[in-house]
Symmetry: C2
Subunit: 241 residues, 2 copies
């Protein structure tokens, strides 16, 4: 991820979205927020909100995109449609994340987000080296601004290695514990009449398979044995009385 990535909101209109964008930046560890020509009331409201983030308090305001990105050597834009006229390359967010994460150290990058209603204008996009699109269903309209910022920044922070780390199951109970549970349950089922006397061997195999499929975690084995022993004790007591 380029250090000091700038998140530039162009003409945002809704204070809640400005606040949500700031919160997402904070969540994912980005601090440089820039607002181009925000709706004044919205910006004031967002800033005076109780939970206003330090991100928002430090946000810089510019009157044009050109000024907001004056110190940036890489400018990209989020869009749901792209712009065919400008021939600007358009990628899915997954590829955009890779591209941004592979920029040379020292690249000062900015991501532009358009206004809630209109997105980025052609002029806004003309500042962009390339554009990206969140793979959402177009027929259902563009994404909410705060959510688009959150999803984009998440992609920049996600780690492929973390996805590769598959389901690590907790260690299973060992064979001996297994057999003890098996024996306890077998006696319980015989004593209670669930297993008829004449099908002993087949029943034993079936029961063992049932228990194997449970995949009892090692840390739970003693608890299960305790429960089974207690039930057995209750049955034994009733027989005696």
């Amino acid at each position: 991820v380029p250090e000091g990535l700038r998140v530039v909101l162009v003409a945002p209109r809704n204070p809640l979205n400005i606040g949500a964008a700031a919160r997402a930046m904070s969540n994912f560890g980005f601090t440089d927020m820039r607002l181009v020509n925000p709706y004044d009331v919205a910006f004031r409201e967002a800033r005076s909100a109780v939970k206003s983030h330090y991100v928002l308090e430090q946000a810089q305001v510019f009157s044009t995109v050109a000024e907001a990105i004056a110190d940036c050597s890489l400018v990209i834009g989020g869009t749901s449609v792209g712009n065919r006229d400008l021939h600007t390359p358009l990628y899915r967010l997954e590829a955009a994340g890779q591209l941004l994460n592979n920029t040379p150290a020292g690249t000062s990058a900015a991501i532009l987000f358009g206004s809630e209603k209109f997105g980025l204008s052609n002029e806004d996009m003309s500042h962009c080296h390339w554009l990206y699109r969140i793979p959402a269903r177009e027929e259902h309209g563009s994404m909410n601004l705060g959510q688009a910022v959150a999803v984009t920044l998440y992609e920049l922070r996600r780690k492929d290695e973390a996805a590769a780390r598959r389901f690590e199951e907790s260690p299973r109970a060992e064979g001996a514990e297994f057999e003890r549970i098996n024996a306890l349950l077998y006696k319980l089922l015989t004593d209670s009449g669930y297993i008829p006397e004449r099908t002993v061997e087949a029943a034993e195999i079936k029961l063992r398979q049932l228990i194997v499929r449970l995949a009892i975690p090692a840390s739970d084995a003693k608890t299960w044995m305790g429960m089974l022993r207690q039930i057995q004790w209750k049955i034994d007591q009733q027989k005696q009385s």
Copy 2:
């Protein structure tokens, strides 16, 4: 992605968040929303909002988590902290996405999201086969509910192949066009006095390198030639007059 994945909001309090969750579901192509014990006013407000989604209109309301997930064979929960007492496995969202996307066909899965203020309770989590965490900075508080839903559903829809598809640059101008641009610019710079007569050869090489580094796209080559020819024409005209 499991077909018909259920998105279960447990005790949501803010109508805007309920609406944002519905919008994110629609954006990423999920329709089965379930609300457990939502704050009544919030649910009514969200439903009567102008842009209420069909997702929200079809949402089912339950009074307990158990009822909401009665038809689900896999239940997972989103959390920023997990629960050490329950020993429920906790994964990063990247791994959670892989796990969910690799469930056998026909798995009826549900994701639980806790309330804005408290997240999932211990009781809520006791229904979960495993938990996941969005890799956000904990010191900055949990994520906004609508954003958490958006980020989670994005992870389920993202494609590794799309990330592998790296920057495809547009085809560059070919050698011949290149040399024409080079020649045009060279003449222009000589005629205008930028290149002194005596350093001809070194200047030619330097200029060619400058142009090579521009990486002129094939589709732009003619435009550049046109511009250079026009400037040359203007200079030639001034010489004649």
